[in-house]
């Protein structure tokens, strides 16, 4: 198929949009749009290497060679002192939550894809009907439920209370995503494995997960960055020393308790885990093939 197309394109005449001047316009537009999209990142990167006065003087200026290393050292040490423990803690929370979310979603999707039982459609509808309700609607109930009724808002139960609703909320959309992929897996493989005497756990471990590994990895990465980036729930539920990185960063900037250089260094530190997640999800998304799945 690919081969045939290539041969075709070599022989066919140049289409109208492939004319040079049109291509130049397109290239210019695309390049500028991309450059502007990167602007916040460039600002962050440049200014994390400058002293506070230099940032205030001209935000576009390149870092000066003689002050750059001192500035980097100062900025990043200030940033690390302010957010270091929160950074590590938040990664830890996000990892645990993402692992749990992935396990829950895979198990649930497995049950709702491969198990055949009588009230399956009903259960399925119950799960996906909640997608009708935007999650922000539930927060006025969720907060008192966790904090006052379940008494999870104190001592070391803070993080359990923080994680639990996320686990509850991830089920429906995650299951939905997984299920689309699970249902494309060959049924014959499962049937022959069953005949060989494999139980459900073996099926999940040896067939479902290996076959769907890319999407599971993608889901895990998405879940990680979701929890890592979470602000709304963290700002409502956690306070004081219990806050996560995002709420801590916001309050540092909001209270003006960090200077410009340190601020930008802080953003760079906070984006480190997301570099990994972005690289992974890029592999999945870049080709645009996933959109074929969006039948709509």
């Amino acid at each position: 198929m690919i081969k045939r197309l290539r041969v075709q394109s070599k022989t066919r005449p140049i289409q109208s949009h492939e004319k040079l001047w049109k291509q130049i316009i397109i290239l210019t537009f695309v390049t500028f749009a991309t450059a502007f999209s990167l602007l916040p990142l460039i600002i962050t990167f440049l200014n994390s290497m400058k002293t506070n006065e230099q940032v205030a003087a001209n935000i576009f200026a390149l870092p000066e060679w003689n002050t750059m290393f001192v500035a980097i050292k100062d900025n990043f040490s200030v940033a690390w002192e302010s957010i270091g423990p929160y950074f590590i803690k938040t990664i830890f929370i996000a990892l645990i939550t993402a692992v749990l979310e992935t396990i829950i979603v895979v198990l649930l999707a497995y049950i709702l894809t491969f198990k055949d039982f009588y009230f399956k459609n009903l259960v399925f509808m119950v799960f996906i009907s909640i997608l009708l309700v935007p999650s922000i609607i539930g927060y006025p109930i969720l907060l008192p439920l966790i904090r006052d009724h379940m008494h999870l808002g104190k001592d070391n139960l803070y993080y359990i209370g923080y994680i639990l609703p996320m686990l509850g909320g991830c089920q429906a959309p995650g299951m939905f995503l997984m299920r689309t992929f699970f249902s494309q897996q060959p049924k014959t493989l499962y049937e022959s494995a069953k005949i060989e005497g494999a139980n459900d756990f073996r099926l999940i471990l040896h067939i479902t997960i290996p076959l769907a590994l890319p999407i599971i990895l993608y889901y895990f990465v998405g879940a990680f960055s979701g929890v890592y980036n979470e602000y709304l729930w963290a700002s409502l539920f956690l306070d004081g020393n219990y806050t996560t990185l995002m709420t801590k960063m916001y309050s540092l900037v909001d209270n003006q308790s960090i200077q410009y250089g340190g601020m930008y260094a802080m953003y760079i530190i906070s984006s480190l885990p997301l570099i990994v997640t972005t690289i992974i999800s890029m592999r999945y998304f870049k080709s645009g093939e996933f959109a074929a799945g969006l039948k709509l």
Binding site: R12, Q15, S16, H17, Q23, L27, F29, V30, A33, T34, P40, L41, I43, I59, K115, D116, F117, Y118, V123, V126, I128, S129, I130, L131, L132, V133, P134, I137, G138, Y139, P140, I141, L142, P144, L145, D148, G168, G169, Q171, F176, Y228, N229, Y231, L245, M249, V253, M263, Y264, Y267, S271, I275, S281, M282, K286, G288, F290, A291, L294, K295, L296
Partner: protein, 852 residues
Amino acid sequence: MKNKPKFDEYIIDEKDKKRAKTSFIIFGSLSIIFIAAAVVLGCLIPRQKDTTELHGEKLRSLIEADSTSYFLSSDNYLVSYDLSSGSEKKIYEPIKAITNKLEADGTIDSLLPNSLQRLSYKYFSSIGGEERFAAIDSNGNWFTFIKEGEELSISDDYYLVESRYSHIGTNWDEVNPVAYSIYTDSDNAFVIKEFDLLNIHQGPVAEKTLWEFDTSASSFGGKTIRPLAYGTGVWDIVIDDKNVYILEDGGLISVSKSMLDYNKNGEQINYFKAASDNYIAYLRGYLKSLDESKKEKLGISDQEIDLMKKNELESYYVKASSSNTIALAKEKAAAELSANNDWCDSYDALKGTFVIPDYYLDDNCQRIVYSGDFNMGGSVYSNVLDKFYFANRSDDKIYSIDKNVLVDTSYGDVTLSSLAMPVETIDLGGRKLSGDFCCVRYNDLANSMFVMFANSQTISIVSLDEEKTICTFDANFEIFSIIGDSSDSNCVAMRNYKSVDSRGVAENSFVASSYEPARFAMKSVIVGFFVAFLIISVIWILFFLVSFLAHKRRNVMFKTKTIIKDVMKNKFTYIALIPFVAMLILFCYYEAFGSIALSFFDYTAEKPAYIWNNFANYVRIFNEENFWLSVGNMLFFLVFDLILGIVPPLIFGFCLTIMRNKKYSGIIRSAMFIPAIIPGIASMLIWRIGIFGDYGVLNSIVKFFNGQPVQFLANRDISRWSLLLMGFPFVGGYLIFYGGLMNIPSDYHEAAELEGLSVVGRFLKIDVPLIMPQIKYIFVTTFIASAQNYARTYMLKSAGTVTPVENMYVAMKVSGDYGMASAYATLIFIFLLAAVTANFKMQKDQGLGDAL
């Protein structure tokens, strides 16, 4: 499902019929048993009983006597409430009686009582089996009433005062009919008066001004001492044969009875001054002497005393020794001394402990004030055990101190450590004590104590005999005051009744309610079992109906058998599903429906009680000043978010597809991922400070052209447009369009080429219609996201850009008003209903197509 049994082949055999019969009999009887159990449990659920006659009226006072409590209702009736039988009765109109009495006696009108502040009641066996009430009105006038049986009559014994008093506390002496009242007079003097109850009309038999409060000296030892004139009042007065103890919200004062006369003639000096060597300070109006020979006892060297003398005394640290001595230092001087001085060390030792005198009377006259981390949350005196109990809000514990210790160590360094022996703490399990009101109340009938916790509705009953908590319960309403009967099996609480009128103005009134603490402590368990039994009985009824029908009808029998077989076969699947479904219901469905229900109630972080408020939340939202502004903003952002979320990314995606240089297109697509590494919050903060800020990108450009710095976010005229600029050049969401465009078969494009369509024409006539599903998808998701975007306006702190969802967030985060937040949430949900339904339908069609 393979091997499906076929209905046509199905014949009911006798065995099946028999089974169905036995099962419907079993299920029938089970459902009856469980319904009966649920009904019993339902009846057992504790409810508070509002006193019917007084409901909605303001209660002024709650007093107790044996097993009856008395209220003074807002229509000025004295109402009795029998704790054991729950019956109540309006028994008397004291104010009317007083008015009549004063008119009959020809007393002048200006002395008429306007409101009776506090009622006290005790039975006096010594005066002929009479029961007497005494009442003091807000002017400080005394009245007594005699009760014979059910009848009440005003006695001739009343005492009218000439000046106004603000705080009044009374108590009766059990043995001698003597009462003490304490108040601050118009000159802010703190006065205690003793009355002979049998002869009140003669006026106080003894009185004493404890100290006069000088407003200029309110800062004392670096801390602001709350004098009684400012405080919320005297909680109680307890007397024994030697002392009068005044429990006030600043602490405990004990006044020796014998001092009453002495101090009437005592020397009063009204300002602080260093005097001769022998007299170093006048404190709070009372002369303090420091004998040279006693310096050492205090650990004060000559040098320090000199230092104190040199400085004009303005702000003082105070320490008392066990004898009649006191030391003072100016705050500054103390700081200077702190480096190498034991006096200051001893001051540090005082920090966070009981501090004896901030003023000083004499050997038997002392006061304990809170200082440092001791924050008095009320105190009670147990006359059975002769102990005082203090609630300390700082560490949320109850401290008990033997009264005799207090008397004996009259001048001692009474710190908690020096009282280590007699002090015992009652641990309350880490709960936070109530901050608003007096959080402990004494029940002298049971020698127990009511401890009120943070939300003023969680209460523990602490038995003082055993010094431990008997039970803890939620009363489901905010308790203001509480009394109990002799076994604490029945209580009456005065509770805050908050009603909100249609303008959203809350009005507080008080309602007296009775309930049984023991049952309330079990409430959650009872309710849990009740709900469980209810659900189980519904299941039994369903089973019963099914098995009954199966017995009668062939097709039901068939269906039932198939289901049972299937369920039995997949029982592990069902069991495995239970935790998932439970989490879904607990964290998703409960929130969704609960939020809508909550929007009709008053429910705040401080007062977490469900109070129906007649749609006041909604009325408030619609009457809010910025309501239309916020709706306008929401629509503004919605329209532009939709345009900017679709048009630029679509064009960008299209450009990428028609780009000839595929390698460059790949580079661009990779580069477009890079902005995703910045966390959302960081990205918003970069826009707020790095781009819109005073030294940000935009102002740098403005400065480059020699313009004046622009307040992009604080200026109301441009802030909305500035916020729109966020995300420039808006092409971030191109991926879905790109994916869709790539999947259009090239045949279409070739056909367009043959037809002679230009690039723009092809884009509009072929590509856009073909990726309509993607456009619809982005439209709907952007719609939903835009209406819920609280962060943009909240985090950028832009002026005049308030939106409903930001109001909701602020209601939750800042004001803790969950009822209001729910109302906002419900309105937003209604607004989004069409969009979420469309979204749901799309997702369902996409995901269910092959599966179901």
